[in-house]
Symmetry: C3
Subunit: 417 residues, 3 copies
Amino acid sequence: MEEIQQAVSMNTLTINNVWMMLATALVFIMHLGFASVEAGFTQAKNTVNILFKNTLTPAIGLIMYALFGFAMMYPGDWTVEGVLAFGFGLDTAGAGDLTYNEGYTYWTDFLFQGMFAATAATIVSGAVAERIKISSYLVFTVFFVGFIYPIIGSWQWGGGFLSTLGGEEGGFVDFAGSTLVHSVGGWGALAGIILLGPRIGKYVDGKVNDFPGSSVPLSVIGVFLLWLGWFGFNGGSVLSAEPGATSLVLVTTSLAAAAGAIGGTIMAYIIFKRLDLGMALNGILAGLVGITAGADLMSPWEAMIIGLIAGGLVVVSAVTLDKLKLDDCVGAVSVHLTCGIFGTLAVGIFGAKAGIDQFLYQLTGVAAAGALAFGSAFLVFFILKKVWGIRVSAEHEASGLDAPEHGIRGYTIIFDE
Amino acid sequence: MEEIQQAVSMNTLTINNVWMMLATALVFIMHLGFASVEAGFTQAKNTVNILFKNTLTPAIGLIMYALFGFAMMYPGDWTVEGVLAFGFGLDTAGAGDLTYNEGYTYWTDFLFQGMFAATAATIVSGAVAERIKISSYLVFTVFFVGFIYPIIGSWQWGGGFLSTLGGEEGGFVDFAGSTLVHSVGGWGALAGIILLGPRIGKYVDGKVNDFPGSSVPLSVIGVFLLWLGWFGFNGGSVLSAEPGATSLVLVTTSLAAAAGAIGGTIMAYIIFKRLDLGMALNGILAGLVGITAGADLMSPWEAMIIGLIAGGLVVVSAVTLDKLKLDDCVGAVSVHLTCGIFGTLAVGIFGAKAGIDQFLYQLTGVAAAGALAFGSAFLVFFILKKVWGIRVSAEHEASGLDAPEHGIRGYTIIFDE
Amino acid sequence: MEEIQQAVSMNTLTINNVWMMLATALVFIMHLGFASVEAGFTQAKNTVNILFKNTLTPAIGLIMYALFGFAMMYPGDWTVEGVLAFGFGLDTAGAGDLTYNEGYTYWTDFLFQGMFAATAATIVSGAVAERIKISSYLVFTVFFVGFIYPIIGSWQWGGGFLSTLGGEEGGFVDFAGSTLVHSVGGWGALAGIILLGPRIGKYVDGKVNDFPGSSVPLSVIGVFLLWLGWFGFNGGSVLSAEPGATSLVLVTTSLAAAAGAIGGTIMAYIIFKRLDLGMALNGILAGLVGITAGADLMSPWEAMIIGLIAGGLVVVSAVTLDKLKLDDCVGAVSVHLTCGIFGTLAVGIFGAKAGIDQFLYQLTGVAAAGALAFGSAFLVFFILKKVWGIRVSAEHEASGLDAPEHGIRGYTIIFDE
């Protein structure tokens, strides 16, 4: 009898863990999604440079998360209660304990969270592309993924002060990270583009010049891979394979993405009078970011409304940033920051937890995460700017970064005939 | 004791549901597969246009399926018994009921089926590419995915008249949709290319001119993603994770694909005297479509034979269509209609259900689905043609659709050096 | 009670089998990874040719494995005890038996192993690209996947002499195939490039000329898909979903890949004084190949060290091969042979089984597999060379293989404006 009980429990853990491992694989493939979107939307002369950044980012991210991030984000002991926990290294001794959690093993927990961590930095790379010094970007990534992201994450997912804002009634809600992942990355991106300034020739005589992206197919590949990856990003954030919650989350996630495509397309048609594929694609991402905070709390119809709004919002945000001469090469700030904030606040407006108290908790979370993410990113970029510079030479910017920094170019497909 | 029983049942549901959710993710990625294949096989001047269609199609498809399709395809009540069921909206009230099915939750059911629905329209987009008005395509998609596909699907998968053709002994068999998905899409594609007419310059003085596809790597990416997606398309059609059935289905599916590549390569070599990668790729898709109706009924050897025949057939079909001056940009009719019909009939010829009765059931299913799919698609395209036109101007066709409709082009990778 | 017991056992099988089927899907997608990496790293004039090879290879591989490989690799009876087992065909009669194994069904077993088999040949295709006759490559693939790979595999995974080297204490260890898959492919590649000779113009007057790869984004797509696929390649090699082992394996695998990227980047920076994206990418693959033999035996820190070393090693190996005028178009020998050997030996140096005895078992395995893989590949290529040639004409090599062999070219994206 007890033997059967144990076998049943083991089955439960195994199923849950299989789901979480596959969710991890799906979040991993988001890194290819980001790489593809960013390389597709930026100019061919910088393709190798952006791909280099996007290749190294998950590598650095995983290693830093193993060294510091995981221990700091899910603290045993707080250094400053609910706010800051220094920590180092994986717990290799206790890792084999299968009673760690019913939903996953220690190793799965680390890897799933580690894949998340690296996305926060990857979001930055697209915005600052085409003119940032790669050495400065890499140093920033080490700090941002290794320390800033896990500290902010600890405030909510590590049981810190945001998670207990409302006392017994719960507090801030951020299911899979509209704020903790996406807006954090978006704030980093915003700090970067403010300090870098726009690309040469982007804003001339009050006119916004478009630099055509190198490859639209590559951008499409990227966005669909991100949508796919979000099956794991949101679906895995249930932290078990519980059938009701996981499948609802996949439905709200996919419908928000679909509605985001429609919202982005319509708003872009209104503003630009064309069928703008870039905005349909960013609309998908906007819908995904928007639903992420409350994917488990919304009905399908609410998910569609959130996606539709987010899809429209991303277009308005992109136009607004250009008016402010904030040059974001791929729309990362509009997708991840604007829609990350919107999605977080949407938990107080739509769905099972809607209400004025919840809205205020959400606002608090947005503000707290924003203050540290933007402040620290600004500081790191600012110090880097003063110490050894964050921007490439005008000459390299004009020629593209691929030849001088990497010695090759992204495409060599001209035929000699 | 009862507690254990419940835990065991919950484990069973959870496993099955995990499999079905991942199958859903795999079917989702088929949309990227279609986008890649179609963009790769068509001309660079229309790349953005086809990608726009393929991006919006799953978005529209999912939303229409949530609004109408799901309720119409799996009816509680028939409006006309076994033939037609009007319906609207998801059952958000009953969705949380975990006793809905042992194999999946209500949400998973919807999302898996919704991903299927959108593929039927996506099949059309490739065939009609490079000259269809995008507005007309989008209107067609709304109707085809929202109403025509679910009505035909209800005839079999919703328990309608095709499923009961043979009374107690069962009836029409279409495991994962050689007919209900692929031939339906193929019939829509055929109606479209008949009414559109061939691209300018395709058939001149009795000669067939090839318009080179923009990117062979993109086509390869697409076909491999479709093969991958078919793990979920067929594997998920078991509707649970039952180990024997699911794993047999993956084996027959993969071996049919492999044999299809061989069949397509050999037949193309016989006809064209060259190693035709396009036909190897379409051979893979042909094998996959061909095995889809009976993937659970065939032995591995029968699967290989079906794949081999389908792979050869797709080449013959493509040549035949060109003789009839039916211009299908990507071979969609040959892959999905020709091999969809063949695969459906193959259930009466090979495998566990082979027999003359079954063959006649299969023929009936093919004919019934064909009549409604072709008839209604023809009607919709015909009305659109009369009302506001389905074909772009000759000028836009010559220049490509990307600049006039979307304001950007697909690739900008020429270096200034 | 017994009923519950059975339901629990069935759940266990189902979970394990789901994991193994998804691992199979992930290994399948490695074929797209290889196709993308190889097409990306080679010249645009040969893109169709390499994609044709990479499309046919898994097709041929799966069919040959169904016909011969599976029966020979996991023998019921040995023809020569522990060394050679002739065999033919799948056991379609016994396939339905769900007591076959607790971890998977017969069909899953076949398909998982079949996906592995085809990778060994695919490794060869990249190295010999741009000058091998495609007919010779295809014949080689039939022999290599159909016979050589399964014979070597049978020595260890089929219970042959390598698996019993140490008697009761176990023997050779190769968790997921650093030797049995990767070095076997690498030896085949080495034999091929020796007999083919370098591409015209590669080594001139003591100088090594680089031929720029057609598409860096395609290479990045390939490497990330391979990393993703390795979740299944290593994760599935646990042969069940046992949560502790599978999740540890995913952690060591991912950390080795991450460290490999760092190792490759640093070593390339030391040698070439540039941020070499190609070497960061090959560093990832090197780390993955390096951890594959002992992914279940290493701590995360050991995995990082192995990855870091492998990442550095792949750069040194590539430089060395060029010094020896061994022209490997994509670095396949350095990734799969050099790091395959290193990873195999690393099991005797790091981790749970480290020790001098183990090191000697590892060395024995490396040598035995190398002797047959290299010897037989050399023989097959040598015979092919004598009988009908293995190298294309100098004219075709100069013009590229796409036009003469396949009648199309890889990219047609120049605009007429």
